[in-house]
């Protein structure tokens, strides 16, 4: 087995140790894992941490999605989108909302590497492509 695949295997194990009862990455659990690694540093500490980060990032979209909106007051939209995402994915998702003025109006929802967008910015971009 090559070194990189060993590291990958260990990182996956660390991810498993970081999950709470609900199958979500728990902050306390991650802290404990990191503390333990700091106390007993492995030979490829930095590479292992990077791989661990990659595994965590890949795991988070299983229950977390990011929402960007053009305005602050979008609580209705947030709840509607959360409901729709939960229904379509058959899971309990949490929405991480943020502000993005570039959108002008509308929203951009990111679940893992899938992006759903309905904004003025995107429409203008489509128009520009059609005309160019």
């Amino acid at each position: 087995m090559s070194n990189s695949s060993k590291i990958k295997k260990v990182a996956k194990k660390l991810l498993e140790l970081s999950l709470d009862d609900q199958g979500r990455v728990g902050v306390d659990k991650v802290k404990a894992v990191l503390d333990s690694l700091r106390e007993n540093p492995p030979s490829d500490h930095r590479t292992l941490l990077r791989e661990f980060l990659f595994q965590v990032r890949r795991y988070l979209p299983n229950y977390q999605c990011e929402l960007e909106t053009a305005n602050d007051a979008q609580s209705d939209l947030n709840s509607v989108l959360t409901e729709k995402v939960n229904a379509s994915k058959e899971a309990d998702y949490t929405l991480d909302a943020s502000l993005n003025k570039v959108l002008i109006a509308g929203y951009k929802l990111r679940i893992g590497d899938d992006v759903y967008e309905d904004s003025i910015h995107q429409r203008l971009e489509n128009l520009r492509r059609t005309l160019s």
């Binding site: 990659f54 890949r58 990111r110 893992g112 590497d113 899938d114 992006v115 759903y116 967008e117 309905d118 995107q122 429409r123 489509n126 128009l127 059609t130 005309l131």
Partner: protein, 510 residues
């Protein structure tokens, strides 16, 4: 003014207002024209990936954690952390009659300054080759206009004939001559108004060549009026390896459109050695395991899947054809190299060009012994087959005898006669660049040689005599040539007319 606003308003109305779904990723590493992208979990193999600033790439390595994308264009505007998104489209190029007379890059974008290509059809660059059922044996000739090739190594429509030789031995010239000859035949056919006439459209793919060489080729095609029947796909040495890797497949897709629409097309890949080198470069950067001469393991498949797309389709599938003339550059005449042997085994024969012959002034420098056409003879016209049947054997015997006779002071009469005949045939086959000869004139000249009309002319004057005879046959002695052109046969009556014409020429030449 109102019409402009109306136009834009309509465009806005036609735009979809539904949310769009895209699959995105982030560039984690970027080097040597290859981007490693994290994400893009739904990307397909060979799918076009869009990067910022409208830079496109192709997904070539689908790994567990990342995707290796080859960038098609300027990578200087990209950086680590940039977003990449899938397009849902496999790499496609525009195809159709609109591409004739145009110069395009590896993704079908015009680079000749003649404006946009108004083609509505696109073909994917990578396609599966026609299977066994839609194919048909090669049975129609594709004349190159080069006597040495058409007589001894005839090519048929749908054949794959390799042109192989060292640098500067006239490989490209043979390909360009063939293209010019197709254009001449097309013009003649269109002029005749024959409803059964099938023009041959050409695609010239320049891979890893100097821009000056490509410009020179375009100029020759323009000067000879052949450009109207040709599409040039250019991926010069200055282009990134991804474009050089894709160019032959793009050219093939353009040719396939003609084939699938019941037309005949000819494609020249100039050259596949550089194509293999570009692919090796990409593979090494993508960290694929390397094999012999550092080429990746699938370098055979790289060329076999390309050349297998050239075919002759049967009547049920439109009766179209795509003939391929791949070019391979050898090092020091070594045909046993990795890439040359691969391509030799894929193609239906090869035209081998020798540096020694080229330097001796025998041009085209075709090596009779090493050149072969495995299927083309079935497509040769009857008249030509009749006069050229023995010439390859005679020339091979001459080369063998010429080697032995160097050590002999006293030669018997038969050997002397064979040497004399061989020397005359060699002289007859000498032909200038970009000057293809129509098949009926070639047949007449070969007939004259077989019927001893050149025997009384000194060997040193044969080239001159052949040029003079060709001119005569194109002007005063047209009748027998026209009969050969129309019937494709050498009837007794035609033979008699030809004899009279050549006797007349000989009197004037003497």
């Amino acid at each position: 003014m109102s019409s402009i606003t109306e136009l834009i308003r309509k465009e806005i109305e036609s735009l979809s207002t539904d949310p769009t779904k895209t699959n995105v990723g982030t560039i984690t590493a970027l080097a040597d024209g290859v981007a490693k992208v994290e994400g893009l979990s739904k990307v397909m193999f060979n799918e076009m990936v869009e990067f910022p600033n409208e830079v496109l790439g192709i997904a070539l390595n689908l790994e567990e954690d990342s995707v290796g994308c080859v960038i098609l264009g300027d990578t200087s505007s990209l950086k680590e952390g940039d977003e990449a998104r899938t397009t849902g489209k496999l790499l496609s190029v525009p195809v159709g009659m609109e591409l004739l007379g145009r110069v395009v890059d590896a993704v079908g974008r015009p680079i000749d300054g003649k404006g946009a290509i108004k083609s509505e059809v696109e073909f994917p660059v990578e396609r599966i080759a026609p299977g066994i059922i839609p194919r048909k044996s090669v049975d129609q000739p594709l004349q190159t206009g080069i006597m040495a090739v058409d007589s001894m190594i005839p090519i048929g429509r749908g054949q794959r004939e390799l042109i192989i030789g060292d640098r500067s031995t006239g490989k490209t010239t043979i390909a360009i001559d063939t293209i010019i000859n197709q254009a001449n035949i097309n013009k003649q056919g269109e002029k005749s108004g024959d409803p059964d006439f099938r023009p041959v459209y050409c695609i010239y793919v320049a891979i890893g060549q100097k821009n000056s060489n490509i410009a020179r080729t375009i100029k020759v095609l323009e000067q000879t009026g052949a450009i109207d029947y040709v599409t040039i796909v250019s991926a010069p040495a200055a282009d990134n390896p991804a474009n050089q890797y894709l160019a032959p497949y793009a050219g093939c897709a353009i040719g396939e459109w003609f084939m699938e629409n019941g037309r005949d097309a000819l494609i020249v890949y100039d050259d596949l050695s550089k194509h293999a080198v570009a692919y090796r470069q990409i593979s090494l950067i993508l960290k694929r395991p390397s094999g012999r001469e550092a080429y990746p393991g699938d370098v055979f498949y790289l060329h076999s899947r390309l050349l297998e797309r050239s075919a002759r389709l049967n009547e049920d599938n439109g009766n179209g054809s795509l003939t391929a003339l791949p070019i391979i550059e050898t090092q020091m005449g070594d045909v046993a190299g990795y890439i040359p042997t691969n391509v030799i085994s894929i193609t239906d024969g090869q035209i081998f060009l020798e540096t020694d012959l080229f330097n001796k002034g025998i041009r085209p420098a075709v090596s009779v012994g090493l050149s072969v056409s495995r299927v083309g003879s079935a497509a040769q016209i009857k008249a030509y087959k009749k006069v050229a049947g023995k010439v390859k054997l005679e020339l091979a015997q001459f080369r063998e005898l010429a080697a032995f006779s160097q050590f002999e002071s006293d030669l018997d009469a038969t050997t002397k006669a064979r040497l004399e005949r061989g020397a005359r045939i060699v002289e007859m086959f000498k032909q200038g660049a970009y000057n293809p000869v129509p098949v009926e004139v070639q047949t007449a000249v070969m007939w004259a040689m077989q019927n001893d009309f050149f025997d009384s002319i000194p060997v040193s004057q044969i080239s001159e005599a052949v040029i003079s005879l060709k001119d005569f046959l194109k002007t005063q002695g047209q009748e027998p040539c026209s009969e050969i052109y129309i019937s494709g046969k050498m009837e007794e009556e035609t033979e008699q007319k030809l004899r009279t014409a050549i006797e007349e020429w000989k009197r004037s030449f003497a």
